[in-house]
């Protein structure tokens, strides 16, 4: 690995990390706009994090160390995720052949410990939420891995950064644009699923029986909750950036232009999430698998098409 760009790479990860809560504010603002409200301040998520970090944590006597481990691991895995990411076309901090598999299993690792922590509370709600989360993310994983296989066929690489920066970069402006279009739709569905957004889950609800992700973290409080929240922001950032790389090649040669375009695209993606949340209601729980599997069907179809093209 070339050590010279490590500084800018670190800077890019750090910037992305600190910006993650701000983007969440975009969703809230868009939703507020459609409801005819002013909405919370742009920095609301920072205020929430600071508030939570100032608080103490409360632990149920029936929980064990697993419960305390959950937030830490989900936070750490989310941070590690960002290290592999080529923000605005900049070289990531870490990158190696086959890192894509590691990337998505880091995500799964974080989820695994969140689920364990939820089960550790022995609350019937949290068990229910854990069952839903595991089921839905298992379905989403199928889509993700078909996308990875498709990208391997298109770019000939198994490294996340090289998907987008190599000589056969994968994006909407390449010759395989039609396929990427399908991938974009699928990836947006996965984003909504993995980040517990409407129409799969409702992050704003207070109704435990309908929750998926939120119900698993009901018992976490204070700094633990702040870690989980921050982890969730990073995960959201990861998926949104993933989509942004497909939308724009970031080959302008001017890093400033790249960064500005990157932030504009990111804002638009978050605004898009806010838009979807404003115009759709949640699906019935038994409709959610159909929704997620739609994304699988799309990318599977796209992959089949590459079989024809390449050979």
């Amino acid at each position: 690995m070339d050590p010279t760009f490590s500084f800018t790479s670190f800077l890019s990860v750090l910037t992305a990390f600190t910006m993650a809560p701000l983007f969440m504010g975009v969703i809230l603002k868009v939703k507020a706009f459609f409801s005819g409200k002013q909405g919370p301040p742009w920095l609301i998520k920072y205020y929430t994090l600071i508030k939570l970090l100032k608080k103490g944590s409360v632990y149920s006597t029936s929980t064990t160390f697993v419960f305390k481990l959950g937030p830490i691991i989900s936070f750490v895995t989310a941070i590690m995720l960002l290290l592999f990411f080529p923000f605005a076309g900049l070289k990531p901090v870490l990158s190696f052949h086959g890192d894509v598999v590691m990337l998505f299993y880091l995500l799964s690792l974080g989820r695994f410990f969140t689920v364990l922590a939820a089960l550790d509370t022995a609350s019937p709600f949290e068990g229910m939420g854990a069952a839903r989360e595991v089921f839905f993310s298992a379905l989403a994983e199928a889509t993700v891995f078909v996308i990875l296989a498709l990208f391997f066929r298109l770019s000939g690489s198994l490294s996340f950064a090289e998907y987008f920066t190599g000589s056969h970069a994968v994006n909407l402006w390449s010759e395989s644009a039609a396929l990427i279009f399908l991938v974009l739709i699928a990836l947006f569905i996965v984003l909504l699923t993995e980040n517990s957004r409407v129409p799969v889950d409702d992050p704003a609800t207070h109704l435990e029986l309908t929750m998926i992700h939120e119900v698993m973290i009901l018992d976490h409080s204070g700094p633990d909750l702040a870690l989980i929240e921050m982890g969730a922001f990073c995960k959201m950032l990861f998926y949104s950036s993933f989509i942004s790389c497909l939308l724009f090649p970031f080959h302008t040669g001017n890093p400033f232009v790249n960064v500005i375009v990157f932030f504009i695209i990111m804002t638009l993606i978050y605004a898009g999430i806010g838009l979807v949340e404003s115009i759709t209601a949640r699906y019935k729980m038994d409709m959610v698998p159909n929704f997620i599997l739609t994304s699988f069907a799309l990318v599977f179809f796209a992959t089949i098409l590459t079989m024809e093209f390449v050979q």
């Binding site: 409801s35 068990g127 029986l209 309908t210 949640r282």
Partner: protein, 506 residues
């Protein structure tokens, strides 16, 4: 002597005119009536001056009201196995008077309190222990069954109630609802000897905070009937307007909440604002956003003059198009309809057997509306509302509310177009009630049929004050609507009924 005495809503009859059957005839008559489309309005016990336990029932059939009664032994053959409409009433009597209905299939406590007669407790509870005592929850056994207990403390700002779900995966096999956490002894408070009568409306308005006008009206009409008070035409109109404003505010709030429960936020926020406008109209009339303090025996306690009426009419004209638009937004969103339709269905035959009232009943096809069947106040001049969708699901209950909002808006505009000023009545000096009398009042509050029943003794003091909130009928409907539904649809079903906890707990 006839087995049933026909009575009028809000008109006192002498207690001696109420038929006093033997229990066998009483039981047969009631079962016969309920089989022929009769519904229970009141079914309660009281101790007369000789400490003899009496059972009184008020039945509605068609647009007619009947009363009948009998003496009650310490044990009697339950009516519930033959007719489910009696189920909750018999449990209530067992709890209040320690009388056992034999072969009652679901004999559990209702509100968790000692019986009024100091008899041995039917449920074997020690009331020094906190609620729920030894409440035998229905349990389903099996490897793949799991039980979810929700409440009594909830995540939202709602009242306390405990819900037990027996689930197989996401599917609910049975929901049991156990209430009583807010039992304040409202009936006993109203029966207290020696208190001035002008304290009673304040208690009546607090039976269920969101139905202040509904319960206030029932109470005032009952006192008016027993004290022979006349209500001026203007006051009647204002009372009807107040009841309709209460209906609009609650229905709008609930449509918004239904929308919020399926994560469709725009109508939630729009309706939230509009609900405030209607609460403020109650504020204009009564100085209280829930209309407390407006309805008093004899009339209304604040003058509602032309200027107030103009404010109300203008506001309604302003808001009506907005309400129609937001309703269109809600009911045209296909993702919302996908959630509302075929969710939490209570078919007509179940609704009929349980005797559901109000919009919950009308959504299932029971067209009963007390405003039409037993019109009080100014309702005789109001055109009846009709419901287009009666499939009994969440969508029907939402649609019925939408139709009722629009109907209420028209009703208020029509009523206020009449040129009548409602004058304030003077603070009532203590009126005396007719001795040895019985009166039942029925009003269609926003949730459905509210009914108060008063019996006076030979000195003209209140011997028994019985309250029935529509929730008393409808909670069972909610439990039934969850059968074989996804547990994640419970909040939506619950909100579509939006029943009162304190109205049930009394």
């Amino acid at each position: 002597m006839d087995k049933l005495l026909q009575i009028q809503n809000g008109q006192a009859v002498s207690r001696s005119d109420i038929p006093d059957l033997n229990f066998h005839d009483f039981r047969k008559t009631l079962l016969n009536e309920t089989r022929n489309n009769g519904f229970i309005v009141q079914f309660f016990a009281y101790e007369n001056e000789q400490d003899i336990l009496k059972l009184v029932t008020v039945i509605r059939s068609g647009h007619k009201l009947y009363v009948t009664g009998c003496s009650l032994a310490e044990e009697y053959p339950s009516l519930t196995p033959e007719c489910e409409k009696f189920h909750m009433f018999e449990r209530e009597i067992a709890e209040q008077f320690g009388v056992r209905p034999k072969d009652h299939p679901w004999l559990k406590m209702v509100r968790y309190h000692e019986n009024y007669r100091g008899k041995e407790d039917i449920f074997g509870n020690d009331y020094s222990v906190d609620i729920p005592g030894n409440y035998p929850y229905f349990a389903v056994e099996g490897d793949s069954i799991h039980e979810v207990a929700v409440g009594p403390v909830h995540a939202g700002i709602i009242e306390p109630g405990h819900f037990r779900f027996q689930c197989a995966g996401e599917e609910v096999l049975n929901l049991e609802i156990q209430l009583g956490y807010q039992h304040r002894g409202a009936e006993k408070l109203l029966e207290q000897k020696g208190q001035p009568l002008n304290r009673l409306p304040i208690i009546a308005e607090s039976i269920a905070g969101d139905t202040a006008i509904g319960h206030g009206l029932c109470h005032s009409q009952a006192i008016e009937a027993l004290a022979g008070l006349e209500v001026a035409e203007g006051s009647k109109i204002i009372r009807s307007v107040a009841l309709e404003l209460e209906r609009i505010a609650n229905h709008i709030g609930d449509l918004g909440a239904l929308s919020g429960d399926v994560a469709f936020t725009p109508p939630l926020n729009y309706f939230g604002r509009i609900r405030g406008e209607f609460l403020n109209l109650s504020l204009t009339m009564a100085g209280n956003r829930f209309g407390k303090g407006l309805v008093r025996p004899g009339g209304v306690s604040f003058p509602v003059l032309a200027e107030h009426r103009k404010i109300i009419c203008d506001k309604i004209a302003d808001e009506t198009p907005g309400i129609a638009n937001v309703c269109d937004l809600l009911f045209s969103a296909h993702t919302v309809l996908a959630r509302f339709e075929h969710t939490g269905t209570v078919p007509l035959n179940i609704a009929d057997r349980l005797g559901l009232v109000g919009y919950s009943g009308r959504a299932s096809g029971l067209s009963y509306d007390a405003r039409v069947a037993y019109p009080t106040e100014a309702y005789a001049m109001v055109e009846a509302n009709t419901n287009a969708r009666t499939t009994g699901d969440v969508c029907s209950r939402a649609t019925v509310r939408r139709e009722e909002i629009m109907h209420s808006l028209r009703t208020i505009t029509e009523l206020l177009a009449r040129d009548i000023d409602a004058e304030a009545i003077p603070v009532p000096s203590s009126h005396s009630l007719v001795p040895d009398s019985f009166v039942v009042t029925i009003n269609e509050a926003w949730r459905g049929e509210v009914s108060h029943c008063l019996l006076t003794d030979r000195d003209g003091t209140i011997l028994r004050y019985k309250i029935k909130d529509p929730s008393f009928h409808n909670w069972t409907g909610l439990a039934m609507s969850l059968r074989n539904q996804g547990i994640s649809d419970f909040p939506l079903c619950n909100k579509s009924f939006n029943l009162s906890y304190c109205g049930f707990d009394l």
